[in-house]
């Protein structure tokens, strides 16, 4: 990892990359371009799903109809918001965009192991995005929420097949990427890049992909069975014919709980990279965090799914086991947090925008993690489940925390990707709007949950006393929207007007920063 690996100069790369060619982008197999394709798709999904969030929040701002008098419209927004935020935005941003950009650069490889498979992954993902967006075009859009529980998803007039195909496309994309990146990390490391020298982000990404290739097929099976039931007359989930809705619920969460860690692990890996760089410090207890934190999560991730089903009618012994395993997973996650906070100790923290996001992450994830403990406890969960407490909790722990990692991570790579620096003023303004907004919105969301307001409600006539809290949550969402616009402006400003920068504007010690900005195809002075 010495700087002697840096060859090629800034000029030659610019020459190579000058002029925009659509053909080059469509047929690209260069991991850095694939990363950009993922980035654009993921943020597009974030934008559209974000607009749905604003529509929902506006609808909820007053009792009775506000934006629409048709509950189905709300249900479709919510379906799209949930599915697109998870499958179209967070997973692809973390295991597509950042994995593609960083993995080869951090391990000293020329590219991924199978560059063409990589192109296949990203285009499958884009097809998934397109199919998901068709929700707004077809006459009978899916209205089954991102969980798609039968029998409703089977008897609904909505088009469940679009749900099935969106999930399958995203799923195939993830499996292909998983095979690719696991191979890359095992076999493509530069000489001397031993396992113990790998960045923590690489370990996190490896673990995330291991989870993906084990669990995604289960989700694929579940959603395929849904469409078979609906369109081809099978009876997997039809109680009248001996099937059971609970089979689906178990299969769904068997994947979708691990999916949370597919998002969490790379995100926390990014935050580690950012904190280590901006605190100019060694990572606190590095290998122990890898072994006990990351592998602890990996070990437990497959045996906690039934905490989504305590009151669904599963046998009591399953509840007992999952209460315990779920509480246990707080241990490796807690260790990973201690490692992050410990990395601040005796550091020299520079508060550039990425570091602000990392600091925000520490607080948002703390609230998210702690509000998860009551959920693990079946007796407390009985009241909280399927109330606003749940969206409150998972927006803190996943939606918002992981978004700080994604936005912070994007500010962090921007100078590398573009060779230009963003405006710190705009960057910081965006962060503070976002941070204030999410706390207003989701603190009220949590409280409304404790008061008993069920989630996925188009209206709340039976809880008129909560209207003022809904209004505060809506105000918060407008502040978030403002923040998101500032972020977007700051990125565009950076790409077009940012000041040119050298190879290592952050003074990072990690390998990927030792070569020129906008590394050429083939990376390390490659051809």
């Amino acid at each position: 990892m010495s700087s002697t690996m840096v060859t090629g100069s800034v000029e030659t790369h610019h020459a190579a990359g000058s002029g925009f060619s659509l053909k080059e982008w469509v047929f690209t197999t260069d991991h850095k371009r694939v990363a950009v394709l993922y980035m654009v798709g993921a943020f597009a999904a974030f934008l559209v799903a974000g607009i749905m969030a604003i529509l929902m929040r506006t609808e909820l701002a007053s009792l009775g109809p506000t934006v629409t008098d048709n509950p189905s419209a709300y249900n479709t927004w919510l379906y799209f918001h949930g599915a697109a935020m998870i499958l179209g935005y967070q997973i692809p941003a973390l295991t597509g965009f950042f994995a593609n950009y960083y993995v080869p650069l951090m391990i000293g490889a020329k590219d991924v192991a199978f560059p063409r498979v990589n192109a296949l992954s990203v285009w499958l993902f884009w097809m998934g995005i397109v199919v998901a967006l068709l929700t707004f075009v077809i006459p009978d859009p899916p209205d089954i929420m991102w969980t798609g529980y039968p029998p409703y998803s089977i008897i609904t007039g909505g088009n469940t097949a679009f749900y099935t195909f969106t999930v399958l496309l995203m799923g195939f994309s993830s499996i292909a990427a998983g095979v690719n990146f696991i191979t890359t990390i095992i076999y493509m490391r530069a000489p001397g890049m031993t396992w113990s020298k790998l960045n923590i982000f690489i370990w996190c990404t490896l673990a995330a992909f291991i989870i993906q290739i084990i669990f995604v097929p289960v989700l694929g099976v579940a959603v395929t069975m849904l469409s078979l039931d609906k369109y081809l007359g099978t009876h997997f989930f039809n109680a009248a014919a001996g099937g059971s809705a609970l089979i689906y619920e178990n299969l769904f969460w068997f994947y979708s709980h691990p999916a949370v860690y597919v998002i969490f692990l790379p995100a926390v890996g990014l935050i580690y990279e950012i904190v280590a760089t901006f605190a100019r410090n060694r990572i606190f207890n590095h290998m122990k965090m890898v072994y006990y934190g990351i592998f602890g999560v990996l070990a437990l991730t497959g045996v906690v799914w039934a905490h989504h089903l305590y009151t669904a009618g599963i046998p009591n012994w399953m509840v007992l086991i999952h209460v315990f395993t779920t509480l246990m997973i707080s241990i490796p996650v807690g260790l990973l947090m201690i490692g992050l906070v410990g990395t601040l100790y005796k550091g020299s923290i520079q508060y550039a925008t990425p570091m602000l996001y990392a600091a925000g992450f520490l607080f948002l994830f703390l609230i998210g993690g702690l509000t998860g403990i009551p959920n693990a406890m079946s007796a407390i969960y009985m009241h909280l489940t399927d109330t606003y407490w749940m969206p409150g909790h998972f927006h803190y722990v996943m939606a918002v925390s992981m978004t700080t990692a994604i936005l912070g991570g994007t500010y962090y790579v921007l100078p590398k990707m573009t060779g230009r620096m963003y405006s710190e003023t705009l960057g910081k303004l965006g962060f503070f709007l976002f941070f204030i907004g999410v706390n207003i919105t989701f603190m009220f969301t949590l409280i409304m949950g404790v008061k008993g307001l069920p989630r996925r409600y188009y209206d709340y006539q039976q809880f008129p006393e909560l209207e003022w809290m809904q209004q505060w949550a809506t105000i918060g969402s407008y502040i978030i929207l403002l923040g998101a616009l500032v972020v977007l402006v700051s990125w565009l400003h950076c790409v077009f007007f940012g000041k040119k920068v050298g190879p290592n504007p952050w003074g990072s010690r990690s390998l990927e920063w030792t070569h020129a900005p906008r590394p050429p195809s083939g990376n390390f002075g490659g051809r």
Partner: protein
């Protein structure tokens, strides 16, 4: 009971409350709603303490170690093998201890929630898109309004006519899914007369948010009258 309430209000030191409850009740019906509030308070205290400690340490480090001059480097030294193991095992042990403690507390309440007390009055509820059909032991029926006598534990047997719904009474802190092809149940203990919201908590289609009704807790005598009047055989007579 007063002592019990005062202890909850106090928030902290909740262990003795559990003892007094056991001592007081004997074979009495456990108040699971009270139990929920009690455990919830305890839990809030637990997570608030952890949260404040973590947040305070984080905030301190973030401020204390801000960069003061250009080009400054972090000075953390490598942990000794013993310290590095200690920083895993000690926090892990603390978390584990807290987890075991919480799990034990949880199961104590959970078992009560899942064990219907003897002599409970059983009401059958069938969920459908989008409402609740209620049937009483004598054959009386109602829709969306469950009338129950005060001071008696109520068992609700749950079925579904079409899709998965979830029967939820926020005030009593109980909820359970209704699943096609299955009979599930929950129970609650209405101690005083009054009205409570009952509402659907599992997404079930277009009118999910309108699928609500009432639990009306009536004085025993009034309830007897009502059921008398509404039981079919009496009506016919």
């Amino acid at each position: 009971m007063k002592i019990f309430k005062r202890l909850i209000a106090g928030g902290a030191l909740l262990l003795p409350a559990a003892v007094s409850e056991a001592a007081e009740g004997g074979a009495a019906v456990p108040d699971i709603t009270e139990g929920w509030h009690h455990l919830w308070q305890e839990l809030l205290l637990d997570i608030t303490i952890i949260g404040i400690i973590f947040a305070a340490v984080t905030l301190y480090l973030l401020i204390r170690y801000r960069r003061r001059k250009e080009g400054e480097e972090g000075k953390a030294s490598r942990l000794s093998p013993l310290a590095s193991l200690g920083w895993v095992l000690i926090p892990a042990f603390i978390f584990l201890a807290d987890d075991v403690f919480l799990a034990a507390k949880n199961f104590e309440l959970w078992n009560k929630m899942r064990e219907v007390p003897e002599g409970a009055y059983e009401v059958k509820v069938e969920a459908y898109m989008w409402g609740w059909d209620i049937t009483y032991p004598g054959g009386a029926t109602a829709t969306n309004e469950i009338r129950v006598p005060e001071g008696t534990p109520i068992k609700v047997s749950l079925t579904s006519r079409d899709v998965v719904h979830s029967f939820f009474i926020p005030d009593f802190k109980v909820k359970w899914d209704t699943v096609p092809g299955m009979e599930t149940y929950l129970w609650f203990y209405p101690k005083t007369a009054g009205e409570h919201v009952m509402t659907c908590a599992e997404f079930c289609g277009v009118l999910h948010s309108s699928m609500h009704g009432k639990v009306i807790v009536m004085p025993e005598a009034e309830f007897e009258n009502w059921i008398e009047e509404n039981t079919p055989r009496n009506k016919e007579a």
